[in-house]
Symmetry: C2
Subunit: 179 residues, 2 copies
DNA sequence: CTATACTTACCTATCGTTAAGTAAGGAGGC
DNA sequence: GCCTCCTTACTTAACGATAGGTAAGTATAG
C-alpha cells in the first residue's frame, strides 16, 4: 500500500478559491489542475465528475443551514435577537462560499439551491411572525435577513464581533424590535 | 433597398428571457437563434460578438443607475425617503435584468459590473451620511438599500405601490428615520 | 443594380470525460 | 534482506460534443 495523499483536500481548496474569484462556470477542471501542478484526469481519481466536486464544496453548507433552521424551529420560543445572531454567525463563517453560491445561482440550479434559498426565507419569516405574516412583516424580515447576509459580504475588513453587533442592531431596527 | 427588420430587438428580447431563466453563461447563441427560428450566424449580422449582445442588454441599466446617482448627488439637500423611493422605482422597473446581473456577477466581471456595484453602495452611503460614515451608519445603509433591492425581487405578485410603501417603510426603520 | 438580411458550410478551441498505462511504496512470504 | 503483489496516485492520449466565430454565397425588396 502507498500512503494516502492530501490531494483531495487541496483540490477543494483551489476550487473554492477559483470559484470565488472567477465563478464556478468560468473555472475549468484544467484551471484547477494547472494550479495544483497535476493533470486534468487526475481530478477524476478523487471526484467522479465535475458536478461532484462542486457539490462537495456547496453541500456541507446547505446541510448546516438546514440543521440551523431545524434547531430554531424545534425551540419552544424563538428569541429574535438570538435568531439573528445565529444567522449572522452562520453566514459570516461561510461568507466566501455564500458569495459564490449567490453570484452563480443559475449554475447551481442543478443542486436545487434556488428552491432551497426561497424555502429558507419563508421559514425564517414564519419563525418570527407565525404561519401567515402580513406584507409589512414579510418585507421587514427580507430586509433584516438579507441585510445581515449582505453585511457579512460587504465589510471584509471589519472585525467579526464589531460587525455582528452593528449588523444585528441594524436588523433589529428594521424589524422594529429592541436591540 | 430592403426595409429594415425588427430582428435586433427580438434577439434582445429572447436573450433577456433566456438569460433570466437559465443564466447568461448557460445560454448559447444557438439557443437564442433556435428560439427565433433563425441561424446562429444571423446573430452576427446584428451584433459583432456575443459579448456585445450581453452588453447591449446590461449597459443601458448601468447607465441609468449612474444617471440616477449623479442626479441625487447634484441636489443641494438629499431627502432620505425620496432617495429610497427613487432607488426602489429604479430597481423595480429593471428587476428582471437586475436578477440576471446579480445571479451572474462573475460572468459580467468583464463589463466591470462588480466594481460598479461596490462603488454605488459607497456613494449611496455618502449621500445619506456624508463622506466618513461610522460602521453603524454604513451597515444600516447596506441593510436598507440591499433590502429594498431584495424586496423588488422577492415579491413578484405584490402590486408595485403596496410593495414600495412596505419596502421603503422597512428601509426607513433600518435607517432609524421617520417613515 | 444595390443594400439588407439572412443561410450554408466550416473552422478552431475548449470542454468534460474515459481508457489504458505506469511509477511509487507499504504488506506478506521466504 | 529481498522478491512479489497489490493498491494508490497519478500521466498520456484521445474522444465526442459544443462553443464562439468567419467566409462565401443567396433571396428579397426598393
Amino acid at each position: 500500500m502507498r500512503r494516502p495523499s492530501d490531494t483531495k483536500q487541496r483540490i477543494q481548496e483551489v476550487a473554492r478559491e477559483l470559484f470565488a474569484k472567477q465563478g464556478v462556470q468560468r473555472t475549468s477542471l484544467q484551471d484547477i489542475a494547472d494550479r495544483l501542478g497535476i493533470t486534468k484526469p487526475a481530478l477524476y481519481y478523487h471526484f467522479s465528475s465535475r458536478e461532484e466536486l462542486v457539490r462537495s464544496i456547496v453541500q456541507p453548507i446547505l446541510d448546516e443551514e438546514k440543521a440551523f433552521l431545524a434547531g430554531q424551529e424545534a425551540l419552544a420560543e424563538v428569541k429574535p435577537r438570538a435568531l439573528l445572531e445565529g444567522y449572522f454567525d452562520f453566514h459570516y463563517r461561510h461568507r466566501k462560499e455564500i458569495v459564490l453560491m449567490l453570484s452563480e445561482l443559475t449554475t447551481l440550479a442543478d443542486l436545487g439551491v434556488i428552491d432551497l434559498v426561497l424555502d429558507w426565507r419563508e421559514r425564517l419569516v414564519k419563525l418570527l411572525y407565525g404561519p401567515e405574516p402580513t406584507l409589512a412583516q414579510a418585507t421587514r424580515a427580507v430586509i433584516a435577513f438579507g441585510g445581515i447576509q449582505d453585511c457579512t459580504i460587504q465589510f471584509p475588513d471589519v472585525p467579526e464581533d464589531e460587525l455582528r453587533r452593528a449588523a444585528v442592531d441594524g436588523a433589529c431596527a428594521a424589524l422594529g424590535i429592541a436591540p
